[in-house]
């Protein structure tokens, strides 16, 4: 009688059913090898922790961004913005009345500081905004008694009627140490002023309004120096109302949806988040190596045992399930630990992530760690998934156990040795695929990372073979230097290459990552430094606020340029106006320049420029765009760029693409007179002073400082050297998180090599005992193990260099370019490479120290007795 499908299913289930004794044996194996088990768990935990920490930090930053935007925009569906960034009060009033805009408020938003705390000043028309922003303006009216409601109303009236008054959130007020009625010193732009806390906004249903300082629009106009104008108008509109309003807007004003704007801002940090995620995945990859190593060792160590079990009738399926179950247990414990560690590390990382975002993108008001369940689940899923994939090979190896393995113990190592060339070949294929994918993947960042990971995995597959070649090649050298101990050390590596090779590969990948990232950061830093050197052509800068202005709409007095030019020792004065500008594809930064010396200097053009560049640029025919903009938009010299001016859309021909690391979203440079005409803005936000040959720089600076202090609000003065130092400090701060992730990846690799060495030491306990029994001293045994770890560490370091160089090159040529649109030459410093080798060597030595001591301490008789 033929068996039905049901019988087959039962049969299949029976084939993997694990008898209790088998489970007990497995559990006791893990608990009897605590070093192996815990190192493996720690490896997984570290990998998961890094992934979770980065994900939590990213998610918290995204949430912080979303909340920050929501806080400021409130429930507004649309915004009206002007080409020149300023909407006159009269325009607002006219629009409100003519279009019947009931739910509309003028807004001024500006960064503000109170002590060390960064806040966002939000100026609103309190009466017009009341129905739109009950979260802000009715927040304090919900008190239980009439007295508190009256107090709130009094506070709002004070806010309306009294200048220099503001509302703070309860959290900020507490952090600043301010109570209602207190006066505080606030910094806006380069100036400071005293303001009074009219009231404190209570937290609402867990939603904090932290980071906001709300003022009446009139106060905001006064403190930001934009009397008579507002930054934008926030509105709540239906689609039909929006269509009607868009058609009726005067030239120079544009209606956009709040969502469009939010998305455009969110896109800016996408590459930053993706890069962090990739770094965390690298740590997980190294964690996967550890698991693979541990589980392979666990299977190999029990080879004879597994053969015995097969002789007793244990099926292949049962052995497969057993090893996979062990892996799953390690994965579960490691992942749970990883979650706890990830939350702890994430709390630190979120500060680094938000600080970087604040430094280079925009101000985040919400910076706390948000425990996102999805991040935790994703981290655990990834940890368990990678661990199970890593355990799959060893589980299959266990399932391949033959009953004859009881007798033939060296079979597996022999099989592994035979596999090495094939693994190397597979590695070459993967590297080929990765390299081939680079040009084929266009501008995709994700595929760029896939190519990078293919190359990393491919290289690691080839490493065991290279380690064997290296060990064989160095055997005579080690023999010559250290006699039989040296030969034994080198041959020990080749004899257990399936495990020692893997340990070297794990360490090499981690070190290569540090070398690669080190090269990328080093190249980037030198490029930024060169760029600053080239771009900052003036010796002293005076600006409406540190960094050159743009945040607020203040302007330096028009007569200042002549006053500066008249100073003794001043050769030329350039003037600049920096502000955001709308293009057809989103917002970018614009710098309008003019120089008393004629042609602007400091441009390093990529490729050809248009003919009669400067003449046509001054005439307003040409615009210069930065490299990131040109890369992102796929445009070059001769292409058109449309900018939204006070006279509507205006087209420019792109005359040149210049190197720029200042803005990831892109910068356009226009001639100042052209800008002044098209945007009806004669203002200047910064001036650059070029000193005459032989001028006393300190004396000129002192005079400029004195002039700046006289201005209202006072302007900031910075020297060329000061700006460069500040820029590089911000650069270094930006990469702090990358350094932290690099260190974590090294930590995972260190655990990996320690785990591998401990496993090898356990496996060789009997060999060591035989050596001790035949007269080898404890010192010689220690030397043997340390020589082995030295060789492994050196091999890892040497193998990490080519891989690190390739990674560095890929990070620069592919990832950085696709993420940010920046190009830079690869700069290899011997220090970075030497540090990589040293790092691998030290990690291996440290990891080998304990096994060496342990092996030397072991009593030979006991090891010999244990079969």
């Amino acid at each position: 009688m033929s068996r039905g499908p049901g019988t087959r299913v039962v049969g299949a289930l029976d084939a993997v059913r694990l008898p209790p004794a088998l489970l007990t044996a497995s559990r006791r194996y893990l608990t009897r090898h605590p070093w192996q088990t815990w190192l493996s768990i720690i490896g997984i935990a570290l990998g998961v922790a890094v992934v979770i920490a980065v994900d939590l930090a990213n998610e918290s930053a995204r949430r912080g961004f979303r909340l920050s935007v929501e806080q400021v925009a409130g429930p507004a569906t649309h915004q009206i913005r002007a080409a020149d960034g300023r909407i006159h009060d009269a325009t607002y009033t006219r629009l409100r009345l003519a279009q019947g805009l009931d739910l509309a408020t003028p807004v001024i938003e500006a960064p503000m500081r109170v002590g060390e705390r960064s806040l966002t000043l939000l100026g609103l028309d309190l009466i017009a905004a009341a129905p739109m922003r009950p979260d802000l303006l009715a927040a304090g009216a919900g008190g239980a008694d009439a007295r508190s409601a009256r107090a709130w109303a009094t506070a709002l009236i004070a806010l309306l009627a009294e200048p220099d008054t503001l509302l703070l959130s309860a959290a900020d007020a507490k952090a600043i140490g301010a109570a209602p009625g207190d006066e505080i010193t606030v910094g806006i732009g380069s100036g400071e002023r005293r303001m009074r806390v009219a009231a404190v906004l209570p937290d609402q249903q867990g939603q904090t309004l932290g980071g906001l300082a709300v003022t009446d629009i009139a106060t905001a106009q006064e403190v930001t120096g934009s009397i008579g104008t507002v930054e934008r108008i926030d509105l709540i509109l239906t689609d039909a109302q929006a269509d009607r309003l868009a058609a009726a807007l005067p030239t120079g004003l544009r209606l956009t949806t709040t969502a469009q704007r939010t998305n455009a801002l969110a896109q800016m940090t996408r590459a930053f988040h993706t890069n962090l995620t990739a770094m965390s995945l690298l740590a997980m990859l190294v964690g996967g190596f550890i698991v693979y190593n541990t589980m392979t060792f666990a299977v190999l160590q029990r080879r004879s045992l597994l053969g015995t079990l097969r002789m007793q009738g244990v099926t292949r399926g049962q052995l497969f399930a057993l090893v996979l179950l062990e892996t799953l247990v390690l994965a579960a414990i490691g992942s749970l630990l990883g979650v706890l560690m990830g939350i702890a590390v994430g709390a630190g990382l979120v500060q680094l992530v938000t600080r970087t975002i604040n430094d280079i993108y925009f101000q985040l008001n919400v910076r706390s760690l948000h425990l996102d369940w999805l991040s935790l689940i994703k981290g655990v899923g990834l940890g368990v998934g990678v661990t199970l994939i890593a355990g799959l090979g060893p589980a299959l190896e266990a399932a391949r156990s033959q009953p004859r393995d009881v007798i033939r113990r060296t079979l597996v190592e022999q099989r592994g040795q035979r596999l090495l060339p094939w693994l190397a070949l597979a590695g070459l294929v993967l590297i080929g695929l990765g390299v081939g994918l680079v040009p084929l993947s266009g501008r995709s960042m994700t595929w760029g990372f896939v190519a990078l990971f293919l190359i990393i995995v491919g290289a690691s597959l080839g490493m065991p073979l290279l380690v064997r070649v290296l060990a064989v090649a160095t055997t005579p050298l080690f023999g010559g230097l250290f006699g039989s101990v040296g030969r034994l050390a080198a041959r020990g590596i080749t004899a257990s290459i399936t495990r020692s090779g893997l340990a070297v590969a794990a360490l090499a990948v981690a070190v290569a990552a540090t070398v690669g990232v080190g090269i990328m950061i080093g190249s980037f830093r030198v490029s930024v430094s060169d760029w600053l050197e080239h771009t900052l052509t003036s010796d002293i800068y005076i600006a409406t606020e540190p960094g050159g202005g743009g945040g607020t709409d203040t302007s330096l007095p028009p007569a200042l340029a002549d006053e500066l030019l008249d100073l003794p020792g001043v050769a030329a004065v350039s003037q600049g106006r920096r502000r955001p500008v709308e293009t057809r594809t989103g917002q970018m930064s614009m710098l309008a320049l003019t120089s008393s010396a004629g042609t602007p200097r400091g441009f390093n053009f990529r490729g050809e420029t248009a003919e009669n560049l400067w003449q046509r640029w001054r005439a307003g025919e040409l615009a210069l765009v930065s490299e990131p903009y040109a890369y992102r938009q796929g445009v070059g010299v001769g292409d058109r760029l449309e900018l939204f001016t006070t006279q509507g859309w205006h087209g420019f021909e792109i005359g040149g693409v210049f190197q720029d690391y200042g803005s990831e979203s892109g910068t356009v440079i226009l001639s100042k007179p052209v800008y002044a005409k098209l945007w009806a803005d004669p203002g200047v936000s910064s001036m650059g002073i070029v000193l005459a040959d032989g001028a006393d720089a300190d004396a000129v600076e002192a005079r400029v400082q004195a002039i700046a202090a006289r201005l209202t609000p006072p302007a900031a003065v910075q020297t060329n050297r000061g700006i460069r130092a500040l820029s590089l400090a911000i650069f270094d701060r930006t990469f702090t998180i990358t350094e932290v992730l690099r260190l974590l990846a090294i930590g995972v690799a260190f655990v990996g090599i320690l785990s591998a060495l401990m496993a090898l030491e356990l496996e060789r306990a009997k060999d060591y005992a035989v050596l001790r029994a035949t007269g080898m001293t404890r010192g010689q045994l220690r030397l043997l193990i340390l020589l082995q770890t030295t060789l492994m560490g050196t091999a890892a370091g040497l193998l990490a260099i080519p891989l690190g160089l390739a990674m560095g090159d890929l990070l620069i040529e592919v990832i950085n370019l696709r993420s940010f649109g920046w190009t830079m030459p690869l700069r290899i410093t011997p220090d970075t490479l030497a540090a990589g080798v040293l790092l691998a060597w030290v990690a291996a030595m440290l990891a080998g120290a304990y096994p060496a001591l342990r092996a030397a301490r072991a009593a030979p008789a006991q090891a010999l007795r244990e079969e």
Binding site: A21, T24, L309, Q312, T315, Q402
Partner: protein, 235 residues
């Protein structure tokens, strides 16, 4: 298979050779013999004579080049891996020179494993383990781990494990090879009595005449061929 009335083991024209470089070395040549149920047969031979290869072929853990092995009337030679696994689980017991107990299981758990694999109910399992421990003289040691036992004790556990699921055939590979003379003698006595009592079929592979003395019949393995001996052997 359990209702089989013929010989417990039939070996027909078995041949096996291995590649040695470009040449092939013949290990077994046209080997044939029968073993009746309950009989004890010794395969006696020097190191490298091919006796271990023959044992592997009998257990189905190696494949012959020619010939056939039948256990309880069923051909092992043509069986697939799952069938062989089931055959070993239900019908074969093994005793090794190096005991091969599971180091992370206690004595009782080592004995329980074959029974659990054969899905024997827990109550009957406990009874059978207690019975066997009594027979091999290890009462009270059921909670001990293998590394807490002497070599002789470990081999007694291994013997108990080999017969606990009442297999049709027990294969023993140099069962006293790793024990001193005195302990080896005691283990041999136990093996002899136990197998007579329980009526198992036993194939012993050994190079020791003392060990082969407990067998009903002795086959000498020399130069890949098998000859039944009745007189004392020269080594």
């Amino acid at each position: 298979m359990d209702e089989h009335s013929g010989p417990a083991l039939e070996v027909l024209g078995l041949g096996k050779s291995y590649a040695e470089g470009r040449r092939r070395r013949t290990v077994l040549r046209d080997v044939g013999f029968d073993v009746a149920a309950g009989e004890c047969v010794a395969l006696l031979g020097r190191s490298g004579s091919g006796k271990s290869t023959l044992l592997n072929l009998l257990a189905g853990i190696d494949r012959p080049d020619t010939g056939e092995v039948r256990i309880m009337g069923r051909s092992v030679t043509g069986m697939g891996e799952p069938e062989l696994t089931l055959l070993r689980r239900r019908h074969i017991g093994f005793i090794y020179q190096f005991f091969n107990l599971i180091p992370t299981l206690t004595v009782a758990e080592n004995l329980a494993l074959p029974l659990e694999l054969n899905r024997m109910p827990a109550a009957r399992r406990r009874e059978r383990i207690a019975e066997l421990l009594g027979k091999v003289g290890l009462d009270g040691r059921e909670g001990a781990f293998p590394d807490q036992l002497s070599g002789g004790e470990q081999q007694r556990v291994a013997i108990a494990r080999a017969i606990i699921h009442e297999p049709s055939l027990v294969l023993a590979d140099e069962p006293t090879g790793n024990l001193d003379a005195h302990t080896g003698h005691r283990v041999l006595e136990l093996l002899s009595h136990l197998f007579r009592d329980e009526g198992h079929t036993l194939i012993l592979v050994t190079h020791s005449r003392e060990v082969s003395a407990i067998a009903d019949r002795i086959f000498a393995v020399e130069d890949g061929q098998l000859t039944e001996r009745t007189e004392a052997l020269s080594w």
